[in-house]
């Protein structure tokens, strides 16, 4: 089911359904801007759909490359970001708030070795913000945690299927972070260049995939390639999934992992493409 204009009208009877979209960027170059490459700030209760950004190059945009509804609650359908290149990132590459459905496919995300990577995630899909009366979980803000993919899904009716397929994430092996990078938050970096951020009760590590919050949607992550994965005891992926009916897939080299509970995936498993074991629910211990 796709969230439609009709659904939008039913949910918001006092609001004339505002459907904006059918927007296409193809083979464009967006570079060197001090803000975002492309930013779209909708008004609350606005339906945005059919945004396609394909074969574009984003380079050194200080605010990030693509920002859709980063600050407001809205409903975003059918976002397609295909075959784009994001280079010399110094901040987030893509941030989409309240994303109902979409696909990010065959893109390359790269931090330059000399850039100043922040704690923010390269691809960040945020949940519904406070304006809808559903405050974000504690410890979460717009900064994310520096993961390659950060998924805090929305709790919202309608289709919520996201597919992140065949992308290439490249990170520098060594990050040179400073506390200022994290907006003044307490930070730490160990000798392997792994960056931790103190969010209070826990330390959030950079993951290749980080999925948080109660999930009521479908996320398919398949065929992506992650370079510069974290080493040591830190896992490559972290999932915190409460809803038993959710379906999650990580597929690599023919391996499909379905996870329904809290589990982590060791880094070596993803690097080698081997069978990823099913992990137990740690919360039941």
């Amino acid at each position: 089911m796709t969230y439609s204009e009709m659904e939008h009208r039913e949910l918001h009877p006092g609001c004339e359904a505002v459907v904006v979209g059918d927007l296409l960027f193809d083979h464009c170059s967006i570079a060197g801007n001090n803000g975002f490459g492309i930013t779209l700030h909708p008004n609350p209760q606005c339906l945005i759909e059919n945004i396609s950004i394909s074969n574009c190059v984003f380079e050194t945009n200080n605010g990030g490359s693509i920002s859709l509804s980063a600050e407001y609650c809205t409903f975003v359908n059918n976002i397609r970001i295909l075959g784009c290149t994001f280079t010399h990132q110094t901040f987030r590459a893509i941030i989409i708030a309240t994303p109902s459905s979409g696909v990010i496919s065959d893109c390359a995300f790269e931090h330059s070795e000399n850039s100043v990577p922040t704690s923010d995630s390269l691809v960040k899909l945020l949940g519904i913000p406070e304006v809808e009366g559903r405050p974000r979980p504690p410890g979460h803000d717009d900064f994310g945690d520096g993961s390659d993919i950060f998924f805090q899904p929305t709790v919202f009716t309608g289709s919520r299927t996201w597919r992140i397929l065949g992308n290439h994430f490249v990170r520098p092996l060594r990050w040179d972070n400073t506390p200022e990078t994290f907006g003044g938050r307490t930070t730490d970096a160990d000798d392997r260049g792994i960056v931790a951020r103190d969010l209070g009760p826990r330390v959030v590590q950079r993951w290749s995939i980080y999925v948080d919050d109660d999930i009521d949607s479908h996320l398919v992550v398949t065929g992506n390639h992650f370079d510069a994965l974290l080493l040591g005891e830190y896992p490559a992926a972290y999932f915190d999934v409460d809803t038993p009916n959710d379906t999650w897939f990580i597929r690599r080299a023919g391996t499909i992992v379905e996870g329904l509970n809290l589990f982590t995936v060791p880094v070596e498993t993803l690097r080698t493409g081997g069978q990823i074991p099913r992990f137990e629910d740690k919360r039941k211990k």
Partner: protein, 183 residues
């Protein structure tokens, strides 16, 4: 209407030095008006603040030229203009309520605050036409004081193909107040 130059770098329209982008004095018309090089903008429609939405501007083609806002020599203050009337022209190329426009092979540089600005009539009750059915091909915007391309309000069916927006002080492409509640 078609305004076709001889090519980027061959047809160069440059704003004069040391001028300000100012509201059109005594503007009262609600009809869509296409003005060339008025208010020190190449294209400008002044919606004023009225009760009826204006007729949209249709069927414009602008191509094969360089538009140079002359950089910081402009004294235009976008913030002040916005306070007077949000729909006033603030871009080097400003269009309000437009449809079926085709801009291609353009180089828009050194503008204050926007390079290319398209918007709906935010102040008119009942809304306006918005920005619809627009195609931009090989349009470059750079070195704007704010955004290279700014779109405000309701938009539908826009295509940017082989465009570039770079070295702007704010965003490359900026959509603001998307889906205004007034509509």
């Amino acid at each position: 209407m078609r305004v076709i130059g001889a090519g980027i770098g061959h047809t160069v329209l440059t704003l004069p030095d040391n001028v300000a982008q100012t509201p059109r004095p005594g503007a009262t018309s609600l009809c869509a008006t296409l003005i060339i090089n008025d208010h020190h903008a190449w294209w400008h429609w002044d919606p004023n603040s009225g009760s009826a939405p204006p007729d949209p501007i249709f069927n414009l083609e602008l191509a094969h030229m360089t538009l140079d806002g002359n950089g910081t020599n402009q004294n235009g203050n976008g913030t002040n203009l916005k306070a007077i009337d949000k729909a006033q022209a603030r871009g080097l190329v400003s269009l309000n309520n437009v449809g079926n426009i085709y801009f291609h092979d353009l180089d828009i540089v050194n503008s204050i605050p926007y390079g290319l600005e398209l918007q709906s009539n935010a102040s008119t009750p009942g809304g306006g036409f918005g920005v619809r059915n627009a195609v931009f091909e090989r349009v470059a915007t750079s070195a704007a004081q704010w955004d290279g391309i700014a779109l405000v309000g309701v938009f539908k069916n826009l295509t940017f193909r082989e465009c570039s927006s770079y070295d702007n002080a704010r965003d490359g492409v900026h959509f603001e107040d998307v889906g205004l509640s007034a509509y």
